[in-house]
Symmetry: C2
Subunit: 285 residues, 2 copies
């Protein structure tokens, strides 16, 4: 565990958690809180961590098959190009797909719009034993929806409390919630969008609307600030992960997941059958 700073058992969690007085504007998107190593050290730590993460995930999964009710929900938010896809590929992708429920939320469908905004979220919650991962989430309903004025203020302004109640309920049901905002700078976003335009095999990832949204950057940041401060609760804290360095963001999200699973400490279920008797029965076949 070289290069991890901080005394507590949750160095990344402690360094990145949104608490009282948090100001998004004061976070440096190029910083690496909780970690004083370099890119190479981060890759080493991620590899070192893989086995422990695998073990904890499998224990959680096993617990779910044995009647356990616990699950994890990882919510990932961020501006375009913030690196959500890289988190899915390199962090979530290292976990056994049998234990992961991945959902990417796009603009709501007609059917989804005919329900309240949490309807589709509820349906996508992880089963017991699973790690659910949301690529965008119900927070879009207080982010783009607020910035783009897609519903009246009376509607979106009520959603912060609705989200807190919903998340409290989910948490009470046994699902531990980890919410991550990947925080990039507008300058870094410009570079990333430009590199998509420079490569023919990346054009499909670019949408002219991405450049239009950039003009609303400050409004998005204000909407994030409000969502972060109003919805970072004890049962469902927000973590702001500086994301100008992709390698740091991936390490940080992996470690946040690891720290949470460690604290859950899932145990192998004990056999509900007579092991010796089963061995004899099997041997006789």
């Amino acid at each position: 565990m070289a290069h991890v700073t901080g005394d507590g058992p949750r160095p990344f969690g402690d360094a990145l958690r949104v608490g009282p007085g948090f100001s998004l504007a004061d976070v440096d998107p190029a910083s690496t809180p909780g970690f004083d190593g370099k890119r190479r050290n981060a890759a080493e730590l991620m590899t070192e961590t893989d086995d422990e993460l695998d073990d904890l995930q499998e224990r959680l999964y096993a617990d779910g098959t044995a009647g356990g009710t616990r699950a994890v929900l990882l919510v990932v938010q961020g501006m375009d190009t913030a690196g959500k896809g890289g988190i899915m590929r390199h962090v979530v992708g290292s976990v056994d797909p049998q234990g992961v429920q991945h959902t990417a939320f796009k603009a709501p469908s007609e059917e989804e719009r005919a329900h309240d905004f949490l309807w589709r979220i509820h349906k996508a919650l992880p089963h017991a034993g699973q790690i659910g991962v949301f690529d965008r989430s119900h927070y879009e309903d207080v982010l783009i929806v607020r910035v783009r004025r897609l519903v009246p203020e009376a509607v979106w302004s009520a959603r912060y409390e609705q989200i807190n109640s919903f998340e409290a309920q989910v948490s009470a049901g046994g699902t531990e919630i980890v919410k991550v905002m990947l925080n990039i700078s507008p300058e870094e976003q410009k570079l990333r969008l430009m590199s998509r335009l420079d490569r023919a095999d990346k054009h499909w990832k670019y949408n002219p609307g991405d450049t239009d949204e950039r003009k609303l950057w400050d409004e998005y940041m204000r909407a994030y600030q409000v969502a972060l401060e109003r919805c970072s609760t004890d049962v469902a804290p927000w973590y702001v992960v500086p994301a100008d360095r992709k390698w740091y963001a991936r390490l940080a999200v992996q470690q946040l997941l690891l720290e949470r699973l460690r604290s859950m400490d899932p145990q192998w279920p004990t056999a509900t059958f007579d092991v010796a008797a089963e061995k004899r029965r099997l041997a006789a076949t």
Copy 2:
């Protein structure tokens, strides 16, 4: 591509495909068709293949976002301990989770039983651009259902044609179907079950019913033989993968997926916007 035997562009596909006159009883579960290397060479080939598989999968995904209608469906069947979980972990798990829809079919729920047997299958089909992976499938409805006589013969015996029609329809819609049976020997299964009983951290994977099912091994093999010969079609062929050697089975399934994606040859979508104009617009932000 060292160690891959066969002249054709689909060495594993050609070696493993169920064709006329196929007999499951004649397949050696410890053999390694299409491959004359060792375990170490298999691991090398799998690693070599990872990048190409990533590239092809991303092209398929990109094509789906641009209005393409193609998808892949990988169906994995096999007796308990045949290695379905290992395929999910080590083959499917190497693919970007954003491009994979994984579904594990258990005993049907009350709601599922209130519909025809293909209802839940239809709902789980991959979206355009995705690789759908079924851990067990509609074939259980002509395997355990037949062996355990869970429905009358008139019902299950009609299902082979129903499955062929269904798969032809799915294929016509743009989804390429690859069906894999992991073929282990009863001796190897016994060893694998015993090792689950030997380790406290594996007890959760053992079910006393597994030993009961072993007594029906021959009946299961007969049911597989019929399903394989009646439902291996041009649009949805079956491949029987010898699975006593886990390393071979994982390599073979990876290569079957690769060969299929290669033949689909998905292309990067072309930009639907003026690239130069977008560069200027972005530069001005």
